[in-house]
Structure formats: structure tokens, C-alpha cells
Symmetry: C2
Subunit: 453 residues, 2 copies
């Protein structure tokens, strides 16, 4: 019996239209990556589980897709282990490889493995799918693309400035209005220090990060629940209620952190970044946001997050400075800064605001109608000339009913249809129909090429 075809839940087929739209986004990002001097690399879909396990926490380990060993996959299991049925513990005995979970760990592995071939600073970008065995839900998939750019081997703040310019350029090209939020991990550490709760930095920043969602009272309540003293909470209030321009915020926090070495360094870094990007020029709104606490355990300096200004959706791009990308693979102290464009959310934003140029959905520019063998042979010659001039064109392969051929042009958003009938065959011309206006014009193929090029 025939199977009813389906794909695994949380995965997607991409139709021609969807691919055209997605490619428009990927190509835009890729073009800017290249203009900025990032070089593309690719790593395998499968990594050894020893590379992946323990890098994403216990929850992450569970969400890794594991590949069953080939051949007799039970051969490493003894009878006792089989009887014990401890799936989690036995996974490593039936599976040695997993699908990559993000692009960061494979990149770290790549840098260490190829350290002798790489020129530092090394600017790389990578656009590849990743897989997570998450529970699928709206906007969350088990296979999705990440678009990452990183520069490692340089701790200059010029790299942060470049990333901000890159973000600005990509979203300007895409036509998405954005707010780039900037913070610095050292400022967060300074705040925790200044309010006398240095050991509670994680609790404090996790609570602060929620202020937009839950409001100041609930943030304070959460701080209390986490055992932060009333005195510390009181000292934190000016940070939570801070408003004004970026410069005003920086002046306020500089004053508050003047006795914290780490905090002052963070303020200085942030000042350089904000002044630098203002000096260089930018189109996006750039906003100092001291509540931003993205990936706290990973980032060590600048933290960046991008929000769409006109659509309610989570962060569409994020990144920051880290100081120990590769330590776990035996290469400590490698500093770098990187960002990840959230392709699927950007896709949602683009769809919602309908920001695609009209040409994106047009693949073929001219469809030649098939009137039978002799006429279609001449049409194929014209099609060949068009293609060689860089214009996508095609002949309807079958000499089907006119209605069917015309409706295929409609369905495929083909803007022009060309007729080569007996008359045109005789005088070496073609009749071109503009599908938008209905207008018909007799012309030669050279004239058509001039028109469309």
C-alpha cells in the first residue's frame, strides 16, 4: 500500500516562493558579511558527541539529536546494561555522533583543530542549519538556520564597532527598522559590586532583564525572593528607573560605578563604542540598555541585541564579546566578538511587513508559448539567446492548450509571454505580451533582450 507522505514534526519543506524569500534574506546577509571581510567556512552536520556533550548544559545534552551507530548498534551493551534500561546512561554506548546544535561550538572546535592554518585575527561567517530536539511550537523548529559572524584573535573595540556597522548595513538593506541595544558585562558586574551583592550578579541581571515584561515592582519582588537585601535593592533603583539619552545614562552609571574598577572599565568600553558608532554614522537607533543580560555566562564585554522597531517579536539578532571561546578544547584565552542573525525571525518580520522587492518572486522573465514542433524549435533558439544574455527564460515544454500555458505564466508570476507563431516564424520576429498591461508588441529577440536587460 502506498505511504501517505509526511515529514518529521518541527521540520519544514521550503517551496519555491519560500526559498526565493529566504534566499533574499540569506543573500543580503552574505553580501554584507563579504563586504565586511568575513570569510565563509562550513563544518559537518555531524560532530562527535564528545565535542557537543556538556557544552549546552544538561537540558542541551537532552536536546541533541544523536545518530545511532551503524551496523550492530547493540554490540557495546552488555546484558546487565540492557536489563538496567537506563536510556540516558546507555546513549553513549549506542551513539558516537550527534547533529550540531549551534554554530559556536563547531566554530570553536574548528579554530582549535586548524589553529596552525589560521591567520589571526580570523574573521569567519557560517550559514548552516542546526538541529534541536525541542518541543516544536509556533516559530520554534527542530531544524533551522543560523547565520553567524565572528572575529577571533583581536580584543580591539574596533571589532565591536564593525559588528554594529554590519548590523546597521544588513537591516538597512532588508528595509527593517531596528533598535540596537547595547550593554556591557563589566557594567553589570560593576552594578552588582556597587550595590554590595557581587556574588548575586546572575540573580540580579536575570531579574533586571525582565523589566520590560514584568515591570519594576515584580523585578524588585524577584530580587527579594532571591535573598538580595533591601539596602542593595534600594541602591539598584536608579539603574532600574534610568532614562534619558545614551550619554546621560552613561554619565549616571559612570558616577554610580566610579569606585568599581571593573564597572568603570565597562563604562569606558561602552563610551568608546557609542561615541565610535555615532562618529562613523548609523541609520538604526542605538540604545544603551543596562538591563540587557543576554548569554551572561558566555559574554565578558559588550553585549548586543537587536529588536525590530515595527513588529512585536523577540530579539532578531544578538551577540557580544567573549574571552574564552576555545578553552574547553585546550586553547585558552582566545578573545573574540560575534553576532548571530536569527534568520527565521527575520523571515517572520519580512513576511509580516511584506518587505520583499517585487522581483524576488519572479524567477522566469519570459515564457515562450509552445505552438508545436517547428515554432517551438525557433522559440528554443530565442530562449537560448535570452539565457546567454543573462535573462531567465523558458519555453512551455508541451504544445498544450493555450489556456493552460497562459495560466502557468500567471501562476509563476512571469511578467512577459512571447508568441512565435507562423507569421513570426516567417518574418523572424516574436509577439511579446506584457502580462500586467495586456499590451502586445511585435519585436525581434534582440529588441527583447535590450528591453529586459
Amino acid at each position: 500500500m502506498a505511504q501517505k507522505p509526511a515529514i518529521p514534526k518541527g521540520t519544514r519543506d521550503f517551496s519555491a516562493i519560500e526559498m526565493a524569500r529566504r534566499n533574499y534574506i540569506f543573500d543580503t546577509i552574505k553580501r554584507q558579511f563579504k563586504l565586511f571581510g568575513y570569510k565563509q567556512i562550513e563544518t559537518p552536520a555531524m560532530e562527535n558527541l564528545s565535542t557537543l556533550m556538556g557544552k549546552y548544559g544538561d537540558e542541551g545534552d537532552k536536546l541533541l539529536f544523536k545518530i545511532l551507530n551503524s551496523g550492530d548498534w547493540m554490540k557495546n551493551l552488555n546484558d546487565e546494561e540492557l536489563a538496567g534500561r537506563n536510556s540516558v546512561k546507555l546513549t553513549s554506548k549506542v551513539s558516537e555522533k550527534g547533529l550540531r546544535y549551534d554554530l559556536t561550538v563547531p566554530f570553536a572546535r574548528f579554530v582549535v583543530q586548524h589553529r596552525n592554518e589560521l591567520q589571526m585575527p580570523f574573521k569567519r561567517f557560517q550559514i548552516q542549519p542546526v538541529w534541536r530536539a525541542d518541543r516544536p511550537q509556533k516559530g520554534r523548529y527542530r531544524e533551522f538556520y543560523q547565520c553567524d559572524a565572528d572575529v577571533v584573535g583581536s580584543d580591539s573595540l574596533n571589532n565591536e564597532l564593525e559588528l554594529l556597522q554590519l548590523i546597521d548595513a544588513v537591516f538597512a538593506d532588508l528595509g527593517i527598522n531596528i533598535i540596537i541595544k547595547v550593554n556591557n558585562r563589566k557594567i553589570l558586574a560593576g552594578i552588582a559590586e556597587a550595590i554590595g551583592a557581587a556574588d548575586k550578579i546572575v540573580d540580579i541581571t536575570v531579574a533586571m532583564d525582565k523589566i520590560d515584561k514584568i515591570g519594576i515592582d515584580n523585578v524588585n519582588a524577584e530580587l527579594r525572593d532571591n535573598g538580595i537585601s533591601e539596602e542593595s535593592i534600594a541602591l539598584l533603583q536608579p539603574v532600574l528607573t534610568m532614562s534619558g539619552s545614551n550619554e546621560e545614562k552613561l554619565d549616571l552609571i559612570a558616577d554610580m560605578l566610579k569606585d568599581s574598577e571593573t564597572g568603570s572599565l565597562g563604562v569606558q568600553e561602552m563610551r568608546e563604542v557609542i561615541e565610535g558608532i555615532n562618529d562613523l554614522g548609523h541609520r538604526a537607533t542605538v540604545e544603551v540598555d543596562l538591563s540587557l543580560a543576554r548569554g551572561l555566562n558566555y559574554y565578558t564585554g559588550t553585549i548586543i541585541e537587536v529588536k525590530a522597531a515595527d513588529v512585536q517579536i523577540g530579539s532578531i539578532t544578538g551577540g557580544g564579546r567573549y574571552d574564552n571561546l576555545t578553552g574547553v578544547f585546550g586553547m585558552p584565552g582566545l578573545s573574540g566578538v560575534g553576532i548571530s542573525f536569527g534568520a527565521d525571525r527575520i523571515y517572520d518580520v519580512m513576511n509580516q511587513l511584506d518587505l520583499y522587492p517585487e522581483e524576488v518572486e519572479t524567477s522566469v522573465k519570459v515564457l515562450f508559448i509552445n505552438f508545436g514542433e517547428k515554432e517551438s524549435r525557433q522559440a528554443m533558439k530565442y530562449v537560448r539567446q535570452l539565457r546567454e544574455a543573462g535573462i531567465p527564460a523558458q519555453l512551455f515544454p508541451d504544445s498544450a492548450k493555450m489556456k493552460k500555458q497562459m495560466s502557468s505564466a500567471d501562476a509563476d508570476h512571469i511578467p512577459f509571454v512571447a508568441f512565435v507563431g507562423e507569421q513570426e516564424l516567417a518574418d523572424g520576429s516574436l509577439m511579446l505580451k506584457d502580462m500586467a498591461t495586456g499590451e502586445q508588441t511585435n519585436m525581434t529577440v534582440d529588441q527583447l533582450i535590450d528591453k529586459l536587460r
Copy 2:
């Protein structure tokens, strides 16, 4: 202890240079796919095992990479099954999904699943990696890309002509001299019929296919071993020794197959294809090869195979006409024709003949030397102007020793280095050094943009 990083055997990292070369190939193929009106789709890396199993023979089933079920993967196994240790039989109880093995089965699944949304004839292309748990060896990988183009829902020979033109265009763009070999499954059936061994068509064609490798005597020996009668073998000899032009071969075989309806139809199809491509024009050598028997059980009409003329390597592209792509998924009788470009072998040929344009390895056009804060800020402004003019450029992020900065330009094949020192800062210029000639020229950034654009 730090891990020594490695990747699973049979998989590859692609460095920046390798990616630049591979992208050159993929982009060339993709550009022609689009000019020819094929539309890109993508399918998920993971398919249900019910979609994949049984489609590639018993050997193929073994070579599928299977994904271990998430969570308690042992839960579907009873104690008896565990004790039985029959890995092969139990695989389906611990794994529901597998990685795609090729692009054909996912395409067939896609066509059936989305049949109501697709406009027929449907021309699609797909460039994605596939995975096979094959024993890795030189030139054989466990992860590799396939580049497929197919048109389904039309049985016109115009589609075959298009595929031949597409092949011709792709390899002309890449600069690879090729021989396109063409055969027809119906001619092979006709030959088997004409020599009185219709039931032995597979044995006959498998033996004939080896003629280039093992010679005519060994082909005849193999035919004998397979129980083909001496009379049949004698009748086959004119086919095996056939030489001359395509037209001469077609005349010979037409005469030999004149009493076979299937065979005569095959000859007629082949004649139309050969005459058609000659009429349309082609740069590659197109050769009728009656011993070609690629994918015999799958193809039903035209069979196409491409060899590199200047490099000893197997087929670098192949395809043909099929009549029942989707029957197994409950949609019988869908005819189509497709080809698959062997990206990895094409890559090997390109490398061996060193056919890449020089620009392929150049990413950044100009590197600005970093002389410190004030100078580098001005340099960043120039870099921004260059990028906005579409010219990849960058500033060395750190004000490192001149020697280090210059050698990074060398290592990255950057053709120009720009200096903005005190003097240039004062007069609003830059000093450009041509890395090939050593020549230095003072100019403005606008002049530089004009020069490089």
C-alpha cells in the same frame, strides 16, 4: 582535561579558500539553473524512516544514518527483544527518523505531499548535503552535496534538450571540457529483444556497460557466464564494435532494431534529441553511446552521462528520463527527467586543472593599515565608503606591528593595502600600495573607489 578536537571520519571542514572554490562551482550551477527556469526548493535533513527505507535496496537501508529517538529510546523494546539482540530488526523501535540519502526520494515525497500546490510541469532544483554511512575512502565522503535539477509532469523531449543545453552551459561557464554521452533505455530493451534475450536485459546491459574498462572479449565472457546463448552474443557483436558518427550509429542501430517496436521508438527519441541539440548548437562533444546503462531500473527513456575530457575520473554528472518517480508514495505515472551534478567530483576536476578565476580566492580588496586610534577612525570611514560602493574592504583591527599587518594582507591574497598616516590624515588622502607591483600612489578615497569598481 581538554579534548583533542576531531570530526567524524568521512566528514570534512571547509576552510575559507575551499568554500570560496566550492561556492564558485555552486554559484555557477545555481545561476544556470535559474536562467533555465528551475526553481529552488529545500527539504529537511531528517526524513521519517518510513519515507527512506526500502527505496535504495537492502544495502542502502544499511547505509542510512538513523537518528536515535529522543528521551527514553529503550521504551519500545521489551525484555525479550533486548535479550534477542537483533540490532537490524530492533532499529525501527529505537529510531523513527533518518538523514536523507539523496535528493530524489525527498523530491518524490515533496511532489506528492504538495501536489495540490504545484503547477505542472514543475521544474525544481535542489542543492543540499546528503549523508551515507559508507566506508570512507579517497573521494568518497559520508556527507556530500548533491545538485539536482528535474522537471516533472511533462513527457516532451524538449525537456531532454533543455537538460543537454543546461549541462553544456554549466561546464562551458566552469571551463571544463566534457563529453556528454547519451543513450536510451528503450534502445537497450530493443537490443535485448532483437538478439532474442529480452529477459536478460539487465545482464546484457551490465556487461556492455563495462566495455571501456574490460574490453570486448571479457564482455562476451561475462555474457556467456550469465547464460546468454552463443547466437545472441553473435547478434550483439555489431553493437559492441559500433563506431562512426552519431548519425552512422543511429542508422546502424535503427536497422538492427527495425522489427522491435520499443527499440524503434528509442531510436526515434534519440534521433530527435541528437538532431535537436545539433540544431540548437552546443560546445560540448555529444556522443551516442549504446553501452551506457546508468541506473537501468530507474530510467525509462533518455540516459545521460557526462565525463571530463581532460581528467581521468568517473562520471561528473548524470541523469535521464523516468516514468514513475512518485508511485511508491501513491501518485503513479508521473513522468520526468532530471540530472544530478556531482559537486565533489567537479571540485576535484577544477582543482586538478586549476580552473578557478583568480578573483575567487580574493575576499577583501583593500586592507587599511592600523596606525592607532585617530588614524584608524578615519580609515574606518574610508572603509565604510568602500563597502557602500560594493567593494569589500577592512581595517586591521589592532594597531599591531607593521610587519604583522602586511603579512596578513599577503596571507589573505589582498591585492591592495592602504595607509592613512599623519600626512594623509592632514590632507584627506590615502597612500595605496599595489601588493603585486609594490607601486605606491597617493589618492583620495573617491579615486580609490573609481579604481576598484
